[in-house]
Amino acid sequence: MQTELRKIVSEEQDQSQPGQQAAGQESSSPGAQEQVLHPHMSYWPFALAIALVVIFMGIISNNLVVLAIGAVLAAAAVIGWGLEHH
């Protein structure tokens, strides 16, 4: 991913047009340009949302088993989210 981004960054630098930077704008350092500039993907938000819906399905059907499954899924998703490398 990083290599790919570096390539994109360097291609874009080549294609940048004169006057693209705003007047008075400072150019960023090469090191800053090489860092990953967007966040990592994650499936925990999706998992937590599903867990919430399972909990609500348990409530609406008065089914404690479904509710418990939802609660366990939610706990797992929260823990997974928290432990994920950001």
Partner: protein
């Protein structure tokens, strides 16, 4: 299949990881642009669902003694029409625009909390599916989008739990679904507040922010303060229904009016939650197509803040007919009239922006102008029903239905289409077809007025809202038929939009980075933008940073004082 390198020059095939598959990239994305597009797709999906429900309602009411729907199904359809259009179309669509555009506008690389952003999206999608799954059980919510007590829990001879009186799951689907959607709204709002306050590009002071960003910020605060009231109200319903409490049951010492106070103290700010971001869009679109800066930027921005504050003081104008004390009626009538002032400030500034401008009547501009006209009618209706004696006469009649549809359809929906035609080239890299767009606009303008204007007359002829059918001797027949014809014209207009969308995605003209010669930062990157938005975070020196960059000799920061 992907490949894995064992040693230099030797690779073996391996199964793709989830995040490398097409579906996985959508499921796991934390990119604000992709999430914004997902919000928009979801919003327009539910817009179609809500539109079909609207056509069913109008078909049922086209002629007297209609038999298209049963009374029970009719109640479910009109309830779900309101819930869908408000919570599942307008709100997610505006959040989608905010997600896509706001970080670009302020020169940020993403939202402040990308995972929370993804979570908010998935919750609203599943929440919407959860509420709509009620149709599969034949138990869709049926108490109106505001779900008044005691419709949500009958009070007489109920035994321990309210659920014994209203044993279906209809109200539970409403309450739990709304709780889910509230969670989504809170996460999105927190994200917008932090993103806008903390991630702006160097030099972009609050006083230089684009007005769409300003209004998104105000809306996010409104949601943060309004949603808890709704959450509390619905939480009490769940307790009444499942745990035997009696918060809304008069026979047991509860108060059904507590529901109305709690609901409308969310519900009226909600009206502004649905319209303020649109005000922001219009305030950015008009200058672009009039080739002028917005007239009275400071007034436009701060009138939005004033509307936000005042929106929390007007809730009981929905309750004039319940028998409020005269002093309360006077207070809420006054505050409701007051809120017209900042709104009128905006309309005045928009009119002054286009006055003497070099107008370019592209489709986004047409929808923006249509928005001003239609919203003005809805706003003036609002001032009329703020007058208590008049409200007594028309409360719960089609006059009110007309008012809310001019505001929400003539206002929010016209604004959403203005925004969509404006920013679609940025999202897709292609322009929407201009001719089909114009056809859609004129059909919508005709459709809105044919559908909703006659509702004023029906209201004055005392046709109550939410009725399933009507006898043929009350003089309502022709007007109802006319409205149904208007609704089908609107349906055709929306079909033209979707045809335009498909045609343009397949073979639309390339848009380039800046198809409208615009002023704000979202256009200062490719269309669609790269993942990281801006290679170098731009520096801002005025309210029109991209204009400055394109016109360095006459840049705003050289010629003006902002």
């Amino acid at each position: 299949m992907a490949t894995r390198t064992i040693v230099e020059g030797v690779s073996v095939a391996r199964r793709k990881r989830l995040d490398e598959t097409y579906i996985g990239q959508w499921l796991m994305t934390t990119d604000h642009k992709q999430i914004g597009i997902m919000y928009l797709i979801t919003g327009f999906f539910f817009f179609m669902a809500g539109g079909v429900e609207a056509l069913l309602i109008r078909t049922q009411l086209a002629v007297p003694d209609g038999k298209v729907l049963s009374p029970e199904i009719y109640n479910q359809i009109f309830t779900m029409h309101g819930v869908t259009m408000i919570f599942l179309f307008v709100m997610p669509t505006l959040t989608g625009f905010g997600n896509y555009v706001v970080p670009l506008m302020i020169g940020a690389r993403d939202m402040a909390f990308p995972r929370l952003n993804a979570f908010g999206y998935w919750v609203i999608l599943f929440g919407g599916l959860f509420i709509n799954s009620s149709f599969l059980f034949g138990a869709a919510p049926n108490g109106g989008w505001f779900n008044y007590a005691p419709l949500n829990e009958l009070t007489a001879n109920c035994g321990a739990n309210a659920i014994m009186c209203t044993p279906g799951m209809n109200e539970d689907f409403w309450a739990l679904g709304i709780l889910l959607l509230g969670i989504s709204s809170i996460t999105a709002s927190l994200n917008f507040v932090v993103t806008i306050l903390k991630l702006r590009a160097p030099g972009m002071t609050l006083n230089r922010m684009p007005l769409f960003t300003w209004m998104t910020l105000v809306t996010a605060f409104l949601l943060l303060f309004a949603i808890p009231s709704l959450t509390a109200a619905t939480g009490l319903i769940v307790l009444d229904r499942h745990l035997g409490t009696h918060f809304y049951q008069a026979a047991s010492g509860g108060d059904p009016l507590l529901w109305q106070h709690l609901f409308w103290s969310f519900g009226h700010p909600e009206v502004y939650i649905l319209i303020l971001p649109v005000f922001g869009m219009i305030s950015d679109i008009l200058p672009t197509f009039a080739r002028k800066p917005i007239f009275g930027y400071t007034f436009v921005a701060w009138s939005g803040v004033a509307i936000g504050f005042l929106s929390f003081t007007v809730w009981a104008h929905h309750m004039f007919a319940v028998g409020l004390p005269p002093i309360a009626q006077a207070f809420f009538a006054t505050s409701t009239t007051l809120i017209a002032i900042p709104t009128a400030v905006k309309v005045f500034n928009w009119c002054m922006t286009i006055t003497f401008g070099k107008l370019s009547l592209k489709v986004p501009m047409l929808f923006a102008l249509g928005f001003i006209a239609m919203f003005l009618i809805g706003g003036l209706d609002g001032v009329a029903v703020a007058v208590v004696p008049f409200d007594y006469q028309v409360t719960d009649t089609y006059f009110v239905v007309s008012h809310l549809h001019y505001v929400l359809f003539g206002g929010s929906v016209f604004g959403i289409f203005a925004g969509f035609y404006y920013w679609f080239p940025k999202m897709s890299g292609k322009l929407l077809n201009e001719r089909l767009g114009q056809l859609q606009f004129w059909l919508m303008l005709i459709g809105v007025n044919v559908t909703f204007f006659p509702m004023h007359i029906l209201g004055l002829l005392c046709m109550p809202r939410r009725i399933y059918t009507y006898p043929n001797y009350l003089g309502w027949n022709f007007i109802n038929l006319l409205q149904t014809m208007g609704a089908y014209i609107l349906g055709i207009a929306i079909m033209v939009f979707f045809i335009n969308l498909i045609v343009s995605l397949r073979s639309g003209q390339p848009a380039g980075g800046d198809p409208w010669n615009a002023f704000t930062l979202e256009w200062d990157t490719s269309s669609p933008p790269p993942h990281y938005n801006f290679l170098t975070v731009p520096t801002v020196r005025s309210r029109r940073p991209f204009y400055d960059k394109k016109n360095p000799d006459i840049a705003d920061w050289k010629t003006a004082t902002h």
